[in-house]
């Protein structure tokens, strides 16, 4: 019994760290607010209105969450489809980040839906085939499954179920392909969602290329997130790296930075084409125009240049800082489209309530907890090569003890 508790929560004496206390507070308040929302309805907690039906929980939890969880499919494609196998050490953490990201996207969505218990209806009776949201829903559900299947070998390794683990290797390629297909579809469709609101989304952001923008920027988000996430987790979870795994994270980081620079360059030109096609130059010198330019210059052109400089000078630190900056840029872009430039003519404009913000923060915090919990138990940072015999609870406990 005592051992089981140890397996679940680790060393009880190490439980009360400053990080745990602060995050625990956020999660506690968040859970209370979630209960309040479920009992009293969305109006009691959110600042949503009849003119602004989508707020932070869609704009951040779903729109931004999905984009930032793109690392899974990006690295899976890099390793398994483009044959750059030297990136394999980054794959499992990226898939876990993506999977946890999607789990919390779905949780956020559940909180935002009026009748979340009807979600299965949508899949059992697929009536809304013309709906972009239907496509997003189906792809997210499908991709969540794919990611679960992609990550599950870590469990097999942990349990030392070698034959199942070997069988699973055969699925890898297919899962990678399906994952990329589903990601292409729903990453772009998150942009298509806004095509139906030409009078509501600010003309500088409204573009027929929205699906393309969302897809291409999701690759940028995926690469940048992996740069940031790998640098953090290799520092924080260094003790979880198996002694046999030797790879040069700096070299991989530079490689990812190079790819991110190239995709940002493409994205910058796509955005410029979109701007020219919309031909609303007159709006550039308005408050919204300035916001648009900050996004375009500060969060697309600038990181593109910084990535290039970082790669040329082999300055890994610069690439990492740029990665974090780019992640901020992606958040900024998704916020602009889903909240700030949305309903731009409506006043007063929507501003999320402190309760909405707390719930979103609580979801992210729980995601981090789950990531940490799994990394400390399963072979995530490096794969466990098949060995003999099955794990007993004793062994598992010994492993966590080491952690």
């Amino acid at each position: 019994m005592k051992k089981l508790i140890r397996l679940l929560i680790g060393n009880p004496r190490k439980l009360f760290t400053p990080f745990n206390l602060i995050s625990g507070l956020i999660v506690t308040v968040g859970l209370c607010l979630i209960a309040f929302r479920l009992l009293k309805g969305l109006g009691a907690v959110t600042n949503l209105s009849q003119t602004t039906p989508w707020g932070l929980w869609i704009g951040f939890d779903v729109m931004t969450g999905v984009a930032l969880a793109a690392g899974g499919y990006t690295i899976a494609a890099t390793v398994h489809l483009f044959g750059m196998e030297d990136y394999e050490p980054l794959l499992r953490p990226a898939i876990l980040t993506g999977f946890i990201g999607y789990v919390f996207v779905v949780l956020g969505l559940v909180l935002d839906l009026g009748q979340p218990w009807r979600m299965p209806l949508m899949m059992i009776f697929p009536r809304g085939v013309t709906s972009v949201l239907f496509e997003v829903g189906m792809c997210v559900a499908g991709y969540l499954t794919v990611q679960a299947l992609e990550f599950v070998p870590a469990f097999w390794e942990w349990l030392k179920w070698d034959r199942l683990r070997q069988f699973w290797s055969k699925l890898t390629i297919w899962l990678a392909i399906i994952g990329v297909v589903l990601s292409t579809l729903h990453q772009s469709s998150l942009g298509s969602l806004f095509l139906i609101a030409p009078t509501k989304l600010h003309p500088l952001w409204y573009s027929m290329y929205l699906p393309l923008f969302f897809f291409v920027s999701s690759i940028i988000a995926g690469l940048s997130m992996v740069i940031v996430e790998s640098s953090l987790s290799h520092r924080l979870f260094a003790y979880r790296l198996s002694p046999s795994s030797h790879f040069d994270l700096d070299k991989l980081t530079l490689g990812l930075g190079k790819a991110a620079a190239a995709v940002l360059y493409v994205y910058l030109f796509l955005k410029l084409i979109g701007l020219a096609e919309g031909a609303r130059w007159d709006l550039l010198n308005t408050p919204y125009g300035h916001l648009y330019l900050i996004e375009l210059v500060g969060f697309v052109a600038l990181p593109c240049a910084l990535y290039l400089i970082g790669v040329r000078m082999r300055d890994v630190r610069l690439v990492r800082v740029t990665g974090a900056w780019t992640v901020l840029g992606i958040i900024f872009n998704r916020f602009n489209i889903s909240m700030i430039a949305m309903n731009w003519q409506v006043s007063p404009h929507y501003v999320p309530s402190w309760m909405e913000i707390t719930v979103s923060l609580a979801l992210v915090t729980m995601g981090i907890w789950l990531f940490r919990w799994l990394v400390n138990r399963l072979p995530v940072m490096s794969e466990d090569r098949p060995s003999v015999g099955s794990n007993t609870l004793e062994d598992l406990w010994a492993q966590t003890e080491k952690a």
């Binding site: 969305l42 949503l48 009849q50 039906p53 989508w54 044959g83 750059m84 009748q115 139906i196």
Partner: protein, 315 residues
């Protein structure tokens, strides 16, 4: 694109057929590799659908006849089992001065628009019942549906409460019950149950001024044109809803530009068309992407093999 109009259908029975055809066309468009957003075959199918709406019923709202008595509000609330308006129309018309919006408990409201020089226009607002409704095409489970008789109805047993219909609707017609734990969308449903019984919509029946005229949409457009023609000084030469957002079942006449009466200026393009192009690329991605990706992998493996062979030879 009008060549497809001839194959349009005349009765409700073919409604399903229409959507199936448009789906097949979407698929066809995708399979043909139409990567460009805005596929034309899809548009043709939509046009066929629009003619169906022409045969449906509608209401002509003549704001020059409206006196702002709000009898329509009263009747609407009663028929739909909504709470009585707090301020009855007989007592006080100061309510007209505030700009009220429809809500989950008021599917129609009358607002007064003061346009200077003592010109005051009162306008009833409600769901416009688009011929090609944005809400319906956007709905994740198609709880919103255009009926053959013209009404855009809502199935509260299907709705997930995602509120995408609210984002999609250019008129902001669907309203959400934010204060309920099990909330639904609420909006004017054109008294579709009354229509089935051969009755008039409640508001039309209640209007003492005959400012609301119920009839076949094509007849209403003729009637509206006649009114504009007969008294050109009383009206601006425009029927709001004839073409806006692909046409709406509810139509407006007014003596002042419509944008001053709180109606949005919209393109003639219908709303489902805005996303149909993007949706048409779905089958393309599903077909082409796996093959392409498998190809990438094949080349990657091939390159590796060649590399290994070469290095073996050099050893």
């Amino acid at each position: 694109m009008n060549t497809k109009v001839t194959e349009s259908t005349k009765d409700g029975e073919h409604v399903c057929d229409c959507s199936r055809r448009s789906f097949l066309k979407l698929f066809g468009a995708g399979a043909a590799g139409v990567m460009a957003l805005g596929a034309d075959p899809a548009r043709a199918a939509e046009t066929a659908g629009r003619v169906r709406g022409e045969e449906a019923m509608g209401v002509l709202v003549d704001t020059t006849l409206c006196i702002g008595c709000r009898c329509c509000e009263d009747a609407c609330n009663e028929v739909n089992g909504l709470p009585k308006p707090k301020v009855a129309y007989q007592d006080d018309d100061s309510l007209l001065e505030q700009h009220r919006d429809t809500s989950p408990t008021a599917f129609t409201v009358v607002n007064k628009y003061t346009l200077g020089k003592g010109v005051e226009i009162t306008r009833k607002q409600q769901c416009m019942h688009c011929l090609e409704p944005a809400c319906s095409s956007a709905c994740i489970i198609r709880a919103m549906e255009k009926q053959p008789d013209g009404a855009v109805t809502y199935r509260n047993d299907l709705c997930l409460g995602c509120r995408y219909c609210m984002l999609a609707c250019p008129f902001d017609a669907p309203k959400f019950e934010y204060s309920k734990a099990s909330p639904l969308i609420k909006k004017c449903q054109f008294c579709f149950e009354r229509l089935e019984q051969g009755k008039l919509p409640a508001c039309v029946e209640a209007c003492p001024q005959e400012a609301l005229k119920f009839g076949k949409r094509s007849d209403l457009i003729q009637e509206a044109k006649k009114r504009i023609h007969d008294s050109p000084d009383a009206y601006v030469d425009h029927i709001y809803g004839e073409h806006e957002a692909g046409g709406t079942s509810w139509l407006y006449l007014a003596g002042a530009p419509f944008e001053k009466l709180g109606l949005p200026q919209l393109d003639e393009k219908d709303y489902p068309e805005l996303t149909s192009g993007a949706m048409a690329t779905v089958p393309t991605v599903l077909l082409i992407w796996p093959a392409l990706l498998a190809g990438f992998r094949h080349f990657a493996l091939r390159r590796q093999e060649a590399h290994e062979e070469r290095s073996k030879r050099h050893v």
